[in-house]
């Protein structure tokens, strides 16, 4: 059982990482970026190609992948999502959802066209390595790295949001956009940077996915569902809660596989999601 929990925590750390970008963008800018999953996929493929063409260790390639996704995210925001900023909240959420989802079609199918639907994974030399901590308790090295990266990312985000002027300006504009403008904050540019940042975060999650799981052009959709589940479980905005919800989901899924078998693993998460949604609405 302890082993299951360990794997659950590892998976959960990944889920939290995947969800945090989506949660932040929704919480601050009220954009439901369905294409977040596709950003993840691009990150995973970037790690794959960097590994195969340049022999770059995937975890070392993270900063580079982040930079690539940052650029892509910025371009997409400027070209598409920024047009939705002026809309009232309900419409903004709905339309950003639709735009994000149209983007998924475009990005995922471009990926199929260029990279084929084959499943890829990144397997550096240390992939199978495991720490035997106790009899019956194995800690995969990769898993530990993942937990480490996820924690580092979340913590850095926390620092940025609370200690830096940029972070404070983001939180402020989320609470009152006009007042933010009146402080001299360039709200459009802040949103641009923030959106690009969330894309970069998705990229990090993508690298992790490529190493620990696998990537193929349509994988984004599945991770997106996970991210949305966590978003609803955690509420949005507080990144600590997002991370915790991710870990919780990972553990619940792991434990439930024990009871209902691996084929229903995804269903467990989805059912919990629906139940939480319904309870929230009453």
């Amino acid at each position: 059982m302890a082993q299951i929990i360990v794997y659950g925590v590892i998976t959960g750390a990944f889920y939290g990482l995947a969800a945090v970008g989506l949660s932040l963008v929704f919480g601050v800018m009220r954009h439901m970026n369905i294409a977040h999953g596709s950003f993840l996929m691009i990150g995973g493929f970037a790690a794959y190609w960097l590994f195969h063409l340049l022999k770059l260790d995937p975890f070392v390639s993270i900063p580079l992948v982040m930079a690539i996704l940052f650029a892509i995210g910025a371009a997409l925001y400027k070209g598409l999502f920024s047009h939705l900023d002026k809309l009232p909240e309900g419409l903004k959420i709905n339309n950003s959802m639709l735009v994000g989802f149209g983007l998924t079609w475009v990005i995922d199918n471009l990926a199929i066209m260029f990279w084929t639907s084959d499943v890829r994974a990144v397997t550096p030399s240390y992939t199978g390595k495991v720490w035997h901590v106790l009899p019956g308790l194995r800690l995969p090295v990769v898993g530990l790295v993942i937990i480490g990266i996820a924690s580092l990312v979340i913590f850095s985000l926390y620092l940025i949001l609370t200690r830096t002027y940029f972070g404070k300006s983001v939180r402020a504009t989320a609470q009152d956009r006009d007042a933010g403008n009146l402080m001299g904050i360039n709200v459009e540019r802040t949103y641009l940077i923030f959106f690009a940042l969330s894309a970069a975060l998705a990229g990090v999650a993508g690298v992790v996915a490529a190493v620990n799981y696998s990537v193929y052009p349509t994988v984004g959709f599945e991770w997106l569902l996970k991210a949305i589940i966590i978003l609803v479980l955690a509420g949005f905005g507080k990144i600590g809660k997002v991370f915790a919800a991710g870990v919780l989901l990972g553990i619940i899924e792991g434990v439930s596989v024990y009871f209902v078998g691996a084929t229903y693993r995804e269903v467990v998460g989805l059912v919990i999601f629906i139940l939480v949604l319904l309870r929230r609405s009453t």
Partner: protein
């Protein structure tokens, strides 16, 4: 310092301001008075840059600013205390003040300014870490003013100071504002419904009615003029 020339401002398809012109002199307190839906807030919001006029010009020290984005106008030295305070409710008083000093220039003198505003509004020092949304109306107004001062503006715009404030607090605050104007020579443009108190504080005044300027003059003269007395002060003399 501030010149507004014949601006027409619309909200959607409806015209709110018709050919409005006024000026705020350096170092003076200029007031804009008028009844409820006259368009006073619209005017101030336009000056701040959140709305753009369809026609006309707005100049800051000769510089046209009517087409600038809001943050640029703030960088040029204009600061606003908005209607309803518009603090960042979930952030602490201290953080709200910090954000007032967001512009690059302001950040350099941030710590010094924080000390200064705590000097002007000592009670805020005790509320430093409290979430701004939990303060009383009067305290929130103080935070809003303090926040606007953090960037050491050349022009301070104040929108509806008295809204939701007890008269005693209102009195205190308006005296503080007068003080700020005297000690720093800060140009202030204030929009208000509370005619009496405002004209006592101001140097010059304009009257806005249905989106048009219908009168102007030195504050003391306006206080004594017949129309002003009949139209506004009758309601207030209790």
């Amino acid at each position: 310092m501030l010149e507004v020339e014949q601006i027409d401002v619309y909200r959607g398809d409806i015209q709110i301001l018709w050919s409005v012109s006024l000026a705020a002199q350096d170092g003076k307190i200029t007031a804009l008075l008028g009844s409820n839906a006259a368009g006073k807030t619209t005017l101030l919001t336009t000056i701040s840059g959140l709305i753009k006029p369809l026609r006309g010009r707005i100049r800051l020290n000769g510089h046209p600013i009517d087409k600038h984005p809001v943050h640029k106008i703030v960088e040029l030295g204009v600061s606003m205390v908005p209607e309803g305070r518009r603090l960042f409710p979930e952030m602490s008083v201290f953080e709200n003040l910090e954000l007032g000093a967001f512009t690059r220039k302001a950040r350099e003198t941030k710590d010094q300014m924080i000390e200064e505003v705590f000097g002007i509004f000592p009670i805020l020092k005790t509320r430093k870490v409290q979430a701004a949304g939990t303060l009383s109306g009067g305290e929130q107004q103080m935070v809003a003013i303090a926040r606007a001062l953090m960037s050491q503006p050349k022009l301070l715009l104040i929108d509806e100071l008295s809204l939701g404030l007890a008269p005693l607090i209102m009195q205190q605050i308006s005296e503080t504002i007068k003080q700020i104007n005297l000690t720093r020579g800060l140009t202030i443009f204030i929009v208000e419904q509370n005619v009496f108190m405002t004209l006592e504080m101001a140097d010059y005044g304009y009257i806005l009615e249905n989106g048009r300027i219908v009168g102007e003059g030195e504050a003391k003269k306006l206080l004594q003029s017949e129309e002003v007395k009949n139209a506004y002060l009758g309601i207030e003399e209790v």
